[in-house]
Amino acid sequence: MSAAARTVRPVSIASFAQSQNVRKDDERNEVEGLMPVIAEVFGNIGITKADVGFICSGSTDYLIGGPFSFVMALDAVGVWPPKSESHVEMDGAWALYEAWVLLQEGEIDAALVYSFGRSSLGDLNEILTLQMDPYYEAPLWPDIVSLSALQARALIDAGKATEADFAAIASRSRRDALANPKAQVRNDTAPEVLLADDYVVAPLRRHALPPITDGAAAIVLAAGDKALEWSDRPVWITGFDHRMETHSLGARDLTSSPSTAKAAEVAGVAAGKIDIAEIHAPFAHQEIIVAEALGLDDSVVINPSGGPLAANPMMSAGLIRIGEAAERIRSGQADRAVAHATSGPCLQQNLVCVLEGA
């Protein structure tokens, strides 16, 4: 066990649920889309909202274009009698982090975390531009695909990857997604075939981009007796950290991820053998950067769920990485896993969560 692991209160991923990931869910509003996910995440372990002491959500109002949409989303849980509640304008993985920190204090033993987002309502390229520096970058409206292409080119020019590597990652992700009924892009297509795609923004071809996805996800965290009561094989969080880098794109080395490396160090990734890694790398080349920063060797199975290249629901894709990694430990396929989530352009901010079976 790492130093980090010894100092934390054991908290388990007690339950995980996610919606079907689809290109466009224009039937249901956010609440209607979330309700079945919340019902499933409680139903998996036979509990109700009365059993959790804290609720934390991750979403962004810009996706729907309405302020405080996250407040209305609470209708999907039904917060009566009143519950302690919080929200982050971040992927649900960061909401999970907030809940985990609260559980460390020891006053509560269980928390619900959920996240949601319909990327299909607006123009995701334009919406994501608003996360950029508002003086120097956003006024030029650089889209996330172009920014990621700048990063991919830098990686190629540094001799750390080739376009064929991107295609191989995309091919593997889509093929692995065949075993994931919730994934959106599922097929067995050889890398050579993918390399015949046109460039969207060179050097990125269609397959190296994530799909645009509507979806939601939820996790129940449990500590103490509840963790043992709610699972025969608890999946423990043994290390958890997140770090960020400057928003000045031109001041960063885009070919590496020092924030991931630092978070991995604090979370204690290297303290034992990693069996699987669920990496939130929305663009194919970013998987190479994150895997290196996490210090993974070739024996680690990366993104057995298909990863974000097979389904990338904004605000949930990071939380889903943690849920997918936990499911593989719970099922006995892995004993120790690392899950990663990212936020911001070109891997600006990164979160690392180490999970271990009992």
Binding site: L121, E137, A154, T246, G250
Partner: protein, 152 residues
């Protein structure tokens, strides 16, 4: 409920933000209006362009402003065959991270080139400013960067 019964509506969100620049960003934008580039001196003496009020690595206050550019080197680039509606160019162009002469960091802008074959990491480019009367103190005062000594 049948699909047709679920309503759709066009929804437009508009915010006419006007931001205070502060002294450092304001100096850079004033420089652009005058057709010049300024950077700020970072903790290790490196010139940060475009300048921030603090060193992005050490968070220390930055030192004096120094003129840099207008020429520089492409550090990375990405070719856009089909510009999006809000992009700064309407015809195919490249986004690039450009390290101006004298700068220690790169700035992002558009590069106007006829073909991706004209560009590479390491290619020298220079800023093409809009006419003085059209400049207002914003990144769009630079029409684009062009290959140094090129036809554009």
């Amino acid at each position: 409920m049948a699909d047709s019964e679920v309503l759709h509506a066009e929804h437009r969100l508009e915010y006419p933000y006007s931001r205070s620049t502060g002294p450092i960003i304001g100096a850079f934008l004033t420089g652009l209006r005058d057709g010049k580039f300024f950077g700020a001196t970072g903790s290790d003496g490196k010139i940060i362009v475009p300048p921030t009020e603090y060193d992005p690595i050490t968070s220390d206050d930055v030192g004096e402003l120094v003129e840099v550019g207008p020429g520089g080197v492409i550090e990375s680039w990405a070719w856009v065959s089909n510009p999006l509606r809000k992009h700064p160019r309407t015809t195919p162009f490249a986004w690039a991270l450009i390290r101006l002469d004298g700068a220690g960091t790169a700035m992002m802008h558009a590069v106007d080139a006829a073909s991706p074959d004209d560009l590479a990491t390491g290619t020298r480019v220079t800023a093409k400013f809009r006419p003085a009367a059209e400049r207002i103190g914003s990144m769009s005062d630079i029409e684009a960067f062009v290959v140094e000594g090129g036809a554009a």
